[in-house]
Amino acid sequence: MVSQRRRRASAYRWGWGSRLLAAVLIAIGFAFSGAAGALAYFFPAIVTAFQVTGHTINRSAQSPPVQAGTQGLSTADPSQAASERPFTVLLLGSDNDAKFGGTVLTQSMILTRINPATKQVTMLSIARDLYVPLSSGGTDKIDKAYSAGLANAAVTTVENNFHVHIDHYAWIGLLGLVKLIDKLGGIDVVATHPVLDDFYPADLSGNNPYLYQRVAVLPGPQHMGGIQALEYVRSRHGDLRSDFGRSQRQQQVLLAIRTKAKLLGISDLPDISDAMANDFNTDMSITDVASLLPLASAVALENVHQVILLPPYTSSATIGNQDVLLPNWDLILPEVHKYFPAT
């Protein structure tokens, strides 16, 4: 009798409204705890994502965005959803050890046009020895633009010389490339020819920037780890095409990375961000980067167009004791503007 009375009293105190409230609170509690568990997992990636994305560059000095179909190119159609509009990214790759007294050169500059609607990508390699006016003043090799003013100067220099608008940039350090490839478990590459170099910089470890090492990447299909892939894309001394050969190899390795990265899922983000933390930055927002990832895996290899500006687009010369490539703008600009809208 006593217990029945207690139960009735308890039911009185815990009416249906209270029970519902308690249930909702418990559900919210579980939702929060689940979110906390996920946050704890992704927290390092989130911190890194905020650190490496959203780097601002001075857009005022740059060319305005291209609006409608320049030279017949389908570009920023106002009726097109923002996420479907084509855009241009300047990919920058460089050593990041500042081994020569703070001067950081870009080893690689690839102008990339991405069309999310058609899932087509064009990659145009810019030779590092291209002798052009720099946005920071003076005329020099284009690889020095980055050392003069980091991504802002590199982007502006490319925009000014190629008469294109660059929407975003993404920079990766050499060590970041090595770590990324190793995190992916290596990549498969069909090495185009024997890449032999007796004067390859031994600068990934140690403090002597003038040390050399020997490199021999054997030809044909093979599975490459990060260090070997870096040797393949970085060496140029033994290649008749010098920088052009290297540019082709860089594009090849980027595509191999893309192929392997298709295997990754959201749960891999902490590992990848850990690998890239100090070796990657971009002016894209986290949302931009997140929207690019599925696009990267959706683009078929046959829809990736690779462009390298070989002679006669450029010609070799020696200026001030340095070997440079002189651009033939009359040929270069029409070719570039086939793929990248002119400003």
């Binding site: 498969d188 185009t192 004067f199 290649d239 749960s267 070989l310």
Partner: protein, 343 residues
């Protein structure tokens, strides 16, 4: 008393849920399986004869369905590119270090090193004067040997290309230069000694900014070159069937930069018959005929890890070869080391 207890239980459940969510994401990380040692697996196809294959710096023997580790000393270098010495149980193989590589004669039955055939780390500390030596092959006489060797060179130039040299197992592997490579191309690689003193190899060239290889044949040292394949076909990695009547090769033409084709063609003297693509658009490499000529082995990735496995095509020289069969799973063979096949 019951309410605090219920609250404690609820909090514990929420904490467990948070932990569970965290581990859920962790468990969904992409696992790129690391390769097993060949001795831990059994081939899925029974192959004739004895094979020698290189994986991660060691050489393994496959006979009667069982892999045996030759346990070559890791301190000497990364072991690769085994080749049989006809008429003996011995093999020759390359030990590669960071800056040079040497050829060794090894007892294939027990892995005992019989002799170091080359000494490519010279007394000088100038690493540019050290040498690479790769792809040793021994002729049917069991003594005549050919290798790709980056000599001659001065150490003062960026130019470094492989030339094919001939030597002998009993003396030195490279005593006479047989080919003259094109400068700054990587040179002449993958030499095979043929009956009658002929030499077959892959010759790399660069024309109009494009790099490609052609299978080339010579009948005497530094003599005239007969090309068996076109520049457009871009073929390398020749493997001649034991009866000398069929040539297998890896061609990259038309496959893009990220794939190859395994091709076979009848060979009569210096004439190549109509070529047949046996495996199209793959990342295939390192073809090797079985010693009895009943089929063709090659290396190619089988899954997303990108690690190269051994594959087998029975009757590859016949008009109707069997479909490729995957022989191994979960291994990581060195795709720059064609299998060596002994009877």
């Amino acid at each position: 008393m019951r309410r605090p207890l219920a609250l404690i239980v609820l909090l514990a459940l929420m904490a467990a849920f948070a932990f569970g969510v965290n581990r859920f994401f962790a468990a969904r990380k992409t696992t790129i399986a690391s390769a097993a040692a060949p001795t831990e697996v059994h081939p899925e196809v029974a192959l004739p004869g004895t094979l020698y294959l290189a994986q991660r710096g060691d050489i393994y023997r496959l006979r009667s369905g069982t892999f045996t580790d030759l346990h070559l000393p890791a301190g000497i270098g990364t072991w690769m590119q085994p080749a049989v010495v006809p008429g003996t149980p011995d093999i020759v193989a390359v030990a590669r270090t960071a800056a040079y590589s040497d050829v060794y004669l090894i007892d294939g039955s027990n892995g005992k090193i019989l002799r170091q055939l080359s000494h490519n780390k010279t007394a000088t500390v100038t690493i540019q004067l050290w040498h690479w030596m790769f792809w040793p092959h021994v002729a049917a006489d069991g003594n005549t040997m050919v290798v790709s060797y980056d000599a001659p060179k001065s150490g003062q130039s960026y130019e470094i290309d492989f030339a094919v040299w001939q030597g002998s197992v009993s003396q030195k592997p490279a005593t006479q230069q047989w080919t003259q490579p094109y400068s700054f191309t990587g040179g002449d690689v993958q030499p095979l000694p043929l009956p009658g003193g002929r030499l077959l190899y892959a010759k790399y060239q660069i024309t109009g900014g494009n790099v490609f290889s052609q299978l080339a044949m010579q009948t005497n040292a530094l003599g005239d070159i007969v090309y068996l394949t076109s520049a457009a076909a871009d073929c390398a990695q020749p493997a001649v069937s034991p009866d000398g009547g069929t040539l297998a090769m890896i061609c990259a033409s038309g496959t893009g930069l990220q794939s190859t084709s395994l091709v076979v063609a009848p060979l009569q003297g210096t004439k190549l018959g109509t070529a047949h693509v046996v495996v199209a658009k793959c990342i295939c490499g390192a073809p090797a005929w079985s010693a009895d000529g009943s089929g063709l082995g090659y290396l190619a990735p089988a899954d997303a890890t990108g690690h190269f496995q051994l594959w087998w095509i029975a009757g590859a020289s016949t008009p109707r070869p069997a479909a490729p069969k995957q022989v191994t799973t979960g291994l990581d063979f060195d795709a720059t080391s064609p299998p060596a096949w002994a009877p």
